[in-house]
């Protein structure tokens, strides 16, 4: 656990880089974390995923799965993998300021 300043905000992040408190999150923080993950620009489709994940988390208290992002969020799995290459669920959750997904799916 470490405290650091991202986009002018002081936030706590765990060893893997996930925000400890989802309420610390801002859109500017999302852009900075995305850059750390080699996603240099967040497109409208990225935001569609991020916003869906945050809304779903706020509503259900659970990070949505890839299937949830497909069926309820309306983002096909293929697109999700090209938006967030090499580990879409984890990367999208990190950029959305949520914790690490714990499920197997």
């Amino acid at each position: 656990m470490a405290t650091e300043t991202i986009a002018g905000v002081s936030v706590e992040r765990n060893e893997e880089g996930f925000l400890v408190n989802p309420d610390d999150w801002t859109e500017e923080i999302a852009k900075e974390i995305a850059k750390e993950l080699d996603i240099n620009e967040l497109t409208d489709l990225h935001w569609k995923v991020i916003n869906f994940m945050r809304e779903s988390f706020a509503e259900k208290g659970q990070i949505p799965t890839i299937r949830g992002i497909k069926n309820s969020g309306g983002v096909p799995t293929k697109d999700l993998y090209s938006l967030f290459p090499n580990g879409p669920a984890k990367k999208a959750a990190m950029i959305a300021g949520l914790g690490k997904p714990q499920g197997c799916i």
Binding site: E16, I66, R67, P76, N86, G87, P88, C104, I105
Partner: protein, 160 residues
């Protein structure tokens, strides 16, 4: 990066699915999907009764085996009653859906869209007189064991 494991990351896996029951099919599918979720290259090789999971006419009808499975805690004589396997399958599918584990056809599509490659076993195809048309569109090709090893080069092989 990992707390308990080695720092050496698995980069590639080949998963063989050889059984056609629900409990025979899902572990391999979950492992293949999980591999893609971690950015690991994944190939799935369907052989013998495992091929039911990629056959157009069969993939939506995969059932739990209720006979000869001590972990079901059901006497085989009860397990063989008509409808018992369908009932157990329904119960299990309901629980899996709660965890967002998709039905087989949707899962196969998701795994394919995630970038995993699906292959059917040549020997089984010949033995059961099947053709590529018997398989869902996500299947790349029918390949022999030699080709399987070629595709699996540099990765881990998991038999289920």
């Amino acid at each position: 990066m990992s707390e308990n494991g080695s720092t050496e990351k698995i980069k590639k896996v080949s998963i063989i699915i050889s059984k056609g029951s629900l409990e025979g099919v899902y572990p391999g599918l979950i492992m293949a999907n999980g591999a893609r979720m971690e950015g690991i290259e994944a190939n799935i090789f369907f052989t013998f009764f495992g091929m039911e999971a990629i056959m157009k006419k069969r993939m939506a009808k995969i059932k739990v085996a209720t006979v000869g499975n001590p972990a079901m805690h059901m006497p085989s004589l009860v397990g063989m009653l008509p409808g018992m396997s369908a009932f157990a399958t329904k119960m299990m599918s309901k629980e899996m859906d709660k965890l967002d584990i998709p039905p087989v056809p949707e899962f196969v599509e998701m795994i394919h869209d995630a970038g995993a490659k699906l292959w059917a076993c040549r020997a089984t195809v010949d033995m059961f007189h099947l053709t590529i048309d018997d398989f869902c569109e996500q299947v790349e090709d029918v390949i022999n064991v030699g080709k399987f090893y070629e595709i699996s080069g540099g990765g881990e092989i998991i038999f289920t």
